[in-house]
Amino acid sequence: MTIRAEGVKKWFYDRKRGEFPAVDDVSFECKKGEVFGLLGPNGAGKTTTLMIITTILKPDAGKVEVNGFDVATNPESARLNFGFVSADAALYDLLTPRETLEFVGKLSKYPKEKLAARIDELIKLLDMSSFADTRCQALSTGMKQRVAIARALVHDPPVVIMDEPTSGLDVPTMQSVYQLVRQCREMGKCVLFSTHIMSEAEKLCDRIGIINKGKVLAMGTLSELKEQYAKSDLEEIFLAVVGGIGGNENNGS
C-alpha cells in the first residue's frame, strides 16, 4: 500500500460551533498505480483528510502511512514520498515557475546533476515553456495550476495527492490535468484525488470513497457502488449516500 489511513479523527474548534469533528474515523487505502477518488460535498472533510495525509495537520486519533512512513511520527520521510497539489495552487507569487521547481527539487534531494533536466522535462510535459521564467503573479489560474502540478511531480514521488486540482480551470486545462493524472497512474504512482465533481471522479478514479460530515460513507469501484446502491450513475449514488441539500451543513473545513 502507498497510502493507508486507519481510524483517522480530527476535531476543530470555532467560535460559533465550539468543538466539532472535521474528520471522523476515516479509513481507506490507496495502492500503487491506482487513482483513488475522495468524493464529497463542500465541507465534507476532504481537505482536512488530505492535510493530515500531507503532514500539515496532526490527527487527533488514528494512523496514516504514506509509502510506509507514519505521517505523525516520521513526517519528514513521508513528505519526501508525496507531491501535493492544493485547490488554490498556492504558489510563491514573486518566484518564477522555474525557481519554484528548483526550490522544491533541491529540498527533495533530487540529484543535483539531474534536476535541471527534470525541470525542463516537466516544463515541456506541462507545456509551460512560454511562462517558465515569468513570475507566478502574472500567470492565469490554469497556468498556476500547471505549475502547482509540476511542483508536486518535480521530485518524482511515488504518491501524488491532489485536492480539487481542477477547481477554477477552463475545459482544455481540466483535460490536460486529467491526462496528467492518467499518466501518473501509468507511471505506477498512487494518486489520491479529491473532488466534488462527479464526472471527474467517474472518468478518472479506479476506486471512490464518498465522504460526508467527516465520515467515509461508501467506498469501492464505480461498478461496485452501482451494484451496492442499485443506481445507474455516480451522481445518483452520491445523493443516495449523502442525502439532499443540507447533508453537510454541520461540518466544515
Binding site: G7, K9, K10, W11, F12, Y13, D14, R15, E19, P21, D24, D25, M51, T54, T55, I56, L57, K58, D60, A61, E76, R79, L80, F82, F84, S86, D88, A90, L91, Y92, D93, L94, L95, E99, F103, V104, K106, L107, S108, K109, R135, A148, R151, H155, S253
Partner: protein, 435 residues
C-alpha cells in the same frame, strides 16, 4: 547535519530571493535608512553652518606679555587681522590661562625664543579658539610662503617661518607639537566617547529589530494569508529547519539594514567629530587610546552578541507572529514587541545596569549588557558564557515553539475563526471509533 545545512541554505536562499522582490520590505529595511541618514547629515550640516556663523561673532581673548618680543608682535598683528582675537597684555599670561580669564596666551619661550601658544586643554572652551588660532597661523604661513615664492623666487629655506607651537599647560608638561594624552581630559571624555560608541551599537541593534518586523510578518503571517503556507508545510523539509531558515533570512534583512545604517552612522559620526566636536590633539589621542584598548576578543564578543541578538530577536518575532490570528494583528504585535525591545535597550544602557547573575537571566537585555560590559572593559567570563549559552538555548526553544505552532489548525486555517486561547481547551473527549 549536512542535510540540515543544505536544507537551511535552500530555505534561506528562497526566502531572500522572494523578500528582495517585495517592494515594501526593501523600502522599510533599506531605502528609508539610506534616505534618513543623508537627511540627518544635511541637518547636521545646516546646524554646523549656523554654529560656525555664530562663532564668527565671538571674540577670543588671548594674553600676551606686557613687553612682547618682535616675534610676538608680528603674530599678534596677524591674529588681529581676523577681527576675532583680542590681545590683552598681562604680567603673567599663563596664570590668566589657568584661571580661565583668557583662552590662551602667546609668548616667546625663555630658552629658545620660539613662539608658543599656551592653553588649558581640560577647558571646555579651549578647543574651538585654539583650532582657530592654529588654522589662522597656518593659513598665514602658507600665504606668505606662496606669495614669496611666486613674487621673489625665494626658496622655502630662506623664509622665516612663523614657528608657533601649541602647548598644553594644564598638566605643566614639556612642550610638544602634539601633546601626550592628558589624564584629566581622558578621564572626562573617554567615558563619553565609549558611551557614544555603545549608543551607536545599541541604536543599530534596535534598528535591526525594527527592520526585522516587516520581513517576519511577510514570511509567516502573510504567507498564511497568501495561502502558500500549506504548500510550504508539505515540503520535504523539517519545520524546525523551515522556521530557522526564515529566521536567518529575517536576520539577514536586519543585518542589511544594520550595514546600511552603519555607513550612515559612521558618516554622521565622522562629520560630527570633524565639524562640530573640538579637534584638540587629546581627542585624537583619546579615540586612539580607546581603539587600541579594544582587544580582538572584545570585538569578537561584541560581534557574537550582536549577531545572537539579531537572530534571537528574529526568532522571537517569528514566534510572536505565529501567535497572531491575522496579518494586521501580527503587525501590531510585532511593532509593540519591537518597541518593547527598544525599551529594553534603553534600560540596559542606563548607567545603573550591569551584567550580574540576576540580569544575566533576562534574555536580550543580558546580551546588551555583555556588549556594554565588554565596551567598558568590565566584563567577566562566566556571566558572559552563561548569557551566550542561554540565548542560544532560547533560539532553539523559540524555533521549536514556532514550528509547533505552525502545526496547529488554529494557525494554519483561518486564524480568526479557529483561533483559541490556551484556556479555551478541549472540553470533550474524542469519541471512540464506534462513534
Amino acid at each position: 547535519m549536512k542535510d540540515f545545512f543544505h536544507d537551511l541554505l535552500v530555505v534561506v536562499r528562497k526566502e531572500l530571493l522572494y523578500i528582495f522582490r517585495v517592494p515594501d520590505v526593501l523600502i522599510f529595511s533599506v531605502l528609508i535608512p539610506m534616505v534618513l541618514y543623508p537627511v540627518l547629515m544635511i541637518g547636521a550640516g545646516v546646524y554646523s553652518a549656523w554654529a560656525v556663523t555664530n562663532q564668527k561673532k565671538q571674540i577670543y581673548k588671548i594674553a600676551i606679555p606686557e613687553n612682547p618680543s618682535e616675534n610676538v608682535k608680528r603674530v599678534v598683528a596677524i591674529l588681529k587681522t581676523t577681527g576675532r582675537i583680542t590681545p590683552i597684555p598681562m604680567k603673567n599670561p599663563d596664570d590668566a590661562v589657568r584661571k580661565e580669564k583668557v583662552i590662551a596666551s602667546l609668548s616667546a619661550a625663555p630658552d629658545t625664543g620660539a613662539l608658543e601658544v599656551h592653553y588649558d586643554e581640560s577647558s571646555f572652551q579651549a578647543g574651538e579658539p585654539i583650532r582657530f588660532i592654529a588654522d589662522t597661523l597656518e593659513a598665514e604661513e602658507k600665504k606668505q610662503l606662496t606669495n614669496t615664492l611666486v613674487s621673489r623666487g625665494i626658496s622655502k629655506e630662506e623664509l622665516e617661518p612663523l614657528d608657533v607651537r601649541l602647548r598644553d599647560i594644564s598638566a605643566m608638561k614639556s612642550a610638544h607639537k602634539i601633546p601626550q594624552l592628558d589624564a584629566r581630559f581622558a578621564e572626562t571624555y573617554a567615558p563619553l566617547l565609549r558611551f557614544g560608541a555603545l549608543l551607536a551599537i545599541f541604536f543599530l541593534l534596535s534598528n535591526a529589530r525594527s527592520s526585522a518586523v516587516s520581513p517576519a510578518v511577510f514570511m509567516l503571517a502573510q504567507e498564511r494569508d497568501l495561502k502558500t503556507l500549506k504548500a510550504t508545510l508539505s515540503l520535504p523539509v523539517s519545520w524546525n529547519t523551515l522556521v530557522l531558515g526564515k529566521a536567518v533570512a529575517v536576520s539577514f534583512m536586519a543585518l542589511l539594514s544594520v550595514f546600511v545604517n552603519s555607513i550612515g552612522v559612521a558618516l554622521l559620526a565622522f562629520f560630527v567629530i570633524t565639524s562640530l566636536v573640538i579637534r584638540l590633539p587629546s581627542v585624537r589621542s583619546t579615540v586612539e587610546g580607546i581603539i587600541q584598548s579594544i582587544s580582538p576578543t572584545a570585538v569578537g564578543l561584541i560581534v557574537t552578541c550582536s549577531l545572537l541578538d539579531i537572530l534571537l530577536s528574529s526568532c522571537l518575532l517569528l514566534f510572536l507572529c505565529s501567535l497572531s490570528r491575522t496579518t494586521k494583528e501580527a503587525q501590531s504585535i510585532l511593532i509593540i514587541s519591537s518597541l518593547g525591545m527598544v525599551g529594553v535597550s534603553i534600560f540596559a544602557l542606563s548607567p545603573d545596569q550591569a551584567l550580574t547573575w540576576q540580569t544575566a537571566l533576562i534574555p536580550i537585555m543580558n546580551l546588551l549588557l555583555v556588549i556594554k560590559s565588554v565596551g567598558t572593559g568590565t566584563h567577566t567570563p562566566l556571566p558572559v558564557f552563561i548569557t551566550i549559552a542561554e540565548n542560544m538555548l532560547l533560539i532553539y526553544v523559540a524555533v521549536h515553539l514556532t514550528a509547533y505552532r505552525l502545526g496547529q489548525e488554529s494557525f494554519i486555517l483561518s486564524g480568526e475563526t479557529h483561533f483559541r486561547w490556551p484556556w479555551q481547551r478541549r472540553t470533550k473527549s474524542i469519541p471512540s471509533k464506534s462513534n
